[in-house]
Each structure stands twice: as C-alpha cells, then as structure tokens.
Symmetry: C2
C-alpha cells in the first residue's frame, strides 16, 4: 500500500507535529504545518497569527467572526463568517498542495479535505493527558493556565471545529487509516510505522 501523501491529525501535545516532521525527513518530502497557515494568510489577507488562532475556532466561537463578516473585510467575503471564509481558502490551499506532489500535511482537517484521494494515508496521533501535559510545558513553556486547562481548551476547540466543518466526530478510529497512541507506542516507533506504511514496506 504505497501512498504519496500523509495527513497527520493530532491532539495538542501528542507529538503529532514532531512525528510528521520526522516522516517528511525520512521520506524526503515537503512538510506542511506553519507553511500551510502562511499560505492561507497570504491568500486571505489576514495575518498568519490570526489565521492560526482562527482556524481552530468553532464558527460560533468568537463574536469577531461576525464583526468581521459584517464589515466585509477585503470586500471578498461575500457574507461568509471569517471562519467559513478561512475554511474555504484552507480547503483550496490543501487541495492545491496535494496536486503538487508527495507531502506531509499536519492538522487543518486535511484528512477530511483529502478523503477522496486514494493516494493519501490518514493518520491520527493521540496520547494520554499526562504525557501531553508534560510535553506542552517542556516545549511551549508555562502559561497562566494549568497544562490541563490548556489541553482541555484546545481539545474542545478542535473537536467543535472538526465536527462543524466535516460532519464527523473527532477522535473516531473510522476517520483514519491508522491511529496511534504516542504515549504508549513512543514517538520514534510511531514515525517508523508511518514511514514503512508510506513506503509500502
């Protein structure tokens, strides 16, 4: 089962981004994460920071969605909320990237956006909360909120956003070809499994 593209959906702090990066390096193919945000920012006219934050908001998650929508930012939103406007651009950018050739795409509901391409492997990385809490403090530093509060907030946002735009439930095994618990299997072993699957080994 050789595949060209791999989408990696992940829980915050699970190491999905790191695994995606390692898979891209091992296969010698492009890795899209922040790069994808930058491309959406470029095409939408919004700042990357705004796109990054907003891409994980539920469509009703922020009153700014509607404030912007009413003002018709850039005059091209056609009555769409900011979230819907960004979603449309995100779909378009991901479909274009997939057309360009082999790559690793992390997050951004790419599993759903590329569900009809037979050359894509869809992976989901999850982990227990203790593992994720330790990682986010180590990688992103402390914040005012407790690590558990940060995890719960991110989980809730991704879940609502995913359900709204895909009509699927977040975290369901059926949405993916392979789901791995990085806290049990280990980040390096997850990378190895995905690289082998991509190579058809």
């Amino acid at each position: 089962m050789e595949k060209k593209i791999i989408t990696i959906s992940r829980e915050f702090g699970s190491g999905g981004r790191t695994i995606g990066h390692q898979v891209a390096e091992a296969l010698g193919i492009p890795f899209y994460d922040k790069e994808l945000v930058d491309q959406v920012a470029l095409e939408s006219g919004f700042a990357p920071k705004f796109v990054e934050e907003h891409g994980e908001h539920s469509p009703t998650g922020s009153i700014f969605s509607y404030a912007f929508a009413h003002q018709g930012v850039h005059g091209i939103m056609n009555g769409l909320s900011t979230a819907d406007f960004l979603w449309n651009i995100q779909c378009s950018v991901i479909l274009q990237l997939a057309e360009q050739g082999p790559c690793v795409i992390v997050g951004r509901n790419a599993d759903y956006i590329l569900k009809d391409r037979p050359d894509v492997l869809h992976a989901f990385i999850h982990a227990n909360k203790e593992f994720r809490a330790e990682r986010i403090v180590r990688l992103y530093g402390e914040s005012e909120k407790t690590p558990m509060a940060r995890l719960n907030e991110k989980d809730k946002r991704r879940k609502v956003n995913y359900q709204h735009y895909t009509g699927r439930s977040w975290g369901q095994a059926h949405n993916y070809d392979i789901c791995l618990d990085s806290s049990k299997i280990g980040i390096e072993a997850c990378t190895d499994i995905l690289v082998k699957l991509m190579k058809g080994e």
Copy 2:
C-alpha cells in the same frame, strides 16, 4: 515497548480474528476467541452457542435475559440478568487468562477488562463496509439478510454492549493503543505491524 498480551477488538468482517490468529502464530502464544466462549460456557453452565450470542447482546436486548433471571438459572445468578451474570464470568475468565501468560484475546471487551495491566497492547481493527460485506459472504456464506443488514445488526449490538459494560464509546481511537483500517492497510500488513509492536521492534 515490549508487551506480553494483545487484545484485538474488531468490527465484524474486518479480519480482526484472522489478524489475531496470525499474530498468535507469529509470536507462538495462545489465541483466545472461541476458546474464551467455551470457558465462559463451562463456568456459567450455559451452552457455548448461547454464551456467544448473548455476549454481544445489550443487557436490555432480549426479554429472555429477564425471564432467565427471574427463574434463577443454576441458582447462582443472585438476581443478575443473564447478560450481567455472563459479563461477570467473562471478566473473571479474561483476568485469569491474562495471569497465565502471554496470549492474544479477540473481542469480548478485553481491552476494557485488561485496561489496568501495563503489559497489554490494545488494538482495534476496523474496515469499510464494502470490504466487510465481501468478506462475511465469502467466509460465512449467504444468509436471508443482506450483508449490509448483517453488518449493521452486529455493529449495533457490539456498540450497545460495549457502551453499557465499559462506559466508553465504541470505535473511539482513545480506547486503544493502535487502530488499523484493514481495508486500507491490508490484513497481512496489519499483522506485521502488531507483531513488531509486540516484539518491541
């Protein structure tokens, strides 16, 4: 991450049983599927066929549950419904098997029953309905019902039974260390991945 025991939860027709059998052969360890049903039958006094059918019923799935309960079959059910009585024996049998040493256990909510043992790898095998429908007709033959109706009925039973006895949602990636779509990855490749994980390779 070397493990001693592997539980394989599976959708009907996904090939989970076949994968479990291959993993057991590759590792040279016992394989429990029908054997487990027989043991529960022996300890409960019910016929294996009855145990097999009933083990997948929801506790409210059959009026016979209560008919039997009121009659106090074998005089040891202590007011439990048949389903609850069998569940208790099933838990006890699975915990005993795990104590005896390395093994592969297919189905029977063993993932939940053994969730507190750190030496167990929990796998879930799922597949798309076309793949499963083709397999059940090929392996189990035609029946009065359409393959899709048979799949839907089994899926519903397992889901309700699992949710009732474990308090978890069926098919959630979080319940398992690894979930594989056998229709995408292939049955042989699923076996290879699980054997390597069990060996800690």
